[in-house]
Amino acid sequence: MQDEPTPAELAKAVADFLRNDIAPLISGHQGFKLRVGINALDLVARQLTSAEQGEAAELARLKALLAADGSLSDLNRALADKIASGAMDLSTPGLKEHLWQTTLDKLAVDQPNYASYRREAGRTDGDA
């Protein structure tokens, strides 16, 4: 078993250092690139912290939707094929809810400040 701190904690500590201590010293194009780098570290930390749970739920939904077993990648490929062929569409029970939940989970890692995500994540009607 690898020791602590966790990779997520390490990535966050580096991101915080760059953000608080280094970014104020750097301007122009290098400053822009530094901010991109900090965003990348933040993304890594979010993925390490929260993606596992979301992907486990995604896998369970895919197995139920497709009535099949396989890896996340295999089942996503199978779902993509079924949508492409027209065998599944928005009238398929559970598909719309699955796509919404999967997409919201991706955005929570990729771009939690994206305005469309903030609005949809804040909805409380539960009607996917």
Binding site: K33, V36, G37, N39, A40, L43, S73, N76, R77, L79, A80, I83, A84, G86, D89, L90, K96, L99, W100, T102, T103, L104, K106, L107, D110, Q111, Y114, A115, S116, Y117, R119, E120, R123, D125, D127, A128
Partner: protein
């Protein structure tokens, strides 16, 4: 040194010009570069821009219209009353600068976040959507017989096929993109009433805006013949709203204002087609984000920016769901 070649070049085509100063590359890829510089002239410095393909990169890749076409289109747009920089010179082999052209430099802002937030633009923001409607109408009104003959024609059907092929080439399954591709195929509106010049990239970043309004439309790289509603749909894509998601036109205006400006200039809007192209545009930006990720992985420079743009494809997935499968709807 590029300044020496530019100095010889401007002295040849501009009477009185004695050289150039301050040459700086604004953007550069393997096949195309943009430089800013000032032409030294007894009447005062003249701001200029060089767009060129360095030697050995003359051919336009993929969708690109080519630099010669870009110069010709910019000139035609100028003559049609579209705010555009003047083209000052088409490069010749004697210039030893590769292929491309030199144009007038227009000062102003292209960065969306500044245009949407800075106080300097507060007064003009409510007027931009309508103004852009009029500008789009001007672009679409350029006479077909004046256009470069090498401009390619892109129908909705062809664009769907190209996006499908590009997306599939990545080998990464995206159920939401598949849903969008099905929707597009089922809602393909067919040929438009009139095929016109389409700018192809009519959005923030390619518009120079000042406190007085739109000063120039840039970057005709993706210009083609097609459905004029494509330009109106593309500027409504959520990715160009920069957080102002309730103002569909570039984050500053309403569709109604864009359409009113377009129709006031004597052209007709087909709102259903605009919506179709907004979906296509959202998917297209998503596929472009995935393409950035491919280039990150394959190119030697390992650009961190490209890698992070790859992680923005999911933004277009949520936008596609908002368009095609809105929550709370049956």
């Amino acid at each position: 040194m590029i300044e020496a070649a530019l100095s010889r070049c401007v002295a040849r085509f501009m009477p009185g010009a004695t050289g150039v100063t301050g040459a700086a590359m604004l953007s550069g890829g393997a096949s195309q570069e943009t430089w800013r510089f000032d032409i030294v002239h007894p009447d005062g410095a003249i701001g200029a821009i060089l767009r060129r393909a360095p030697k050995g990169y003359g051919a336009a890749p993929g969708r690109a219209a080519g630099l010669d076409n870009e110069a010709a289109l910019m000139q035609l747009a100028y003559e049609a009353g579209v705010p555009s920089p003047r083209v000052l010179h088409l490069l010749t082999p004697d210039d030893e600068l590769g292929t491309g052209f030199i144009m007038q430099r227009i000062e102003g802002e292209t960065i969306a976040r500044k245009i949407l937030r800075d106080a300097d633009f507060a007064d003009v923001r409510p007027h931009l959507a309508r103004q852009l409607g009029g500008i789009a109408a001007g672009i679409h009104g350029v006479a077909r017989d004046e256009l470069p003959t090498s401009l390619r024609e892109l129908s909705a059907t062809k664009e769907i096929a190209e996006l499908t092929r590009e997306y599939r080439s990545f080998g990464w399954p995206r159920p939401v993109f598949e849903l969008a591709l099905r929707w597009l195929a089922e809602h393909d509106p067919g040929p438009p009433a009139e095929v016109t010049l389409v700018h192809g990239d009519f959005r923030h970043g390619n518009l120079i805006i000042g406190p007085d309004g739109v000063r120039a439309v840039l970057d005709w790289e993706l210009a083609h013949l097609g459905d004029p509603m494509e330009d109106l749909g593309w500027i409504c894509v959520n990715s160009w709203r920069f957080g102002e998601i309730d103002k569909p036109v570039g984050g500053f205006g309403a569709r109604e204002d864009l359409f009113a400006g377009y129709e006031a200039a004597g052209r007709k809007v087909d709102a259903a087609r605009v919506m179709f192209w907004e979906v296509m545009g959202t998917l297209r930006w998503g596929v472009m984000c995935c393409g950035m990720m491919q280039r990150f992985r394959e190119a030697p420079d390992h650009s961190m920016e490209r890698a992070m743009i790859g992680r923005r494809a999911s933004e277009t997935e949520i936008d596609l769901l908002r368009l095609l499968a809105p929550r709370g709807a049956a």
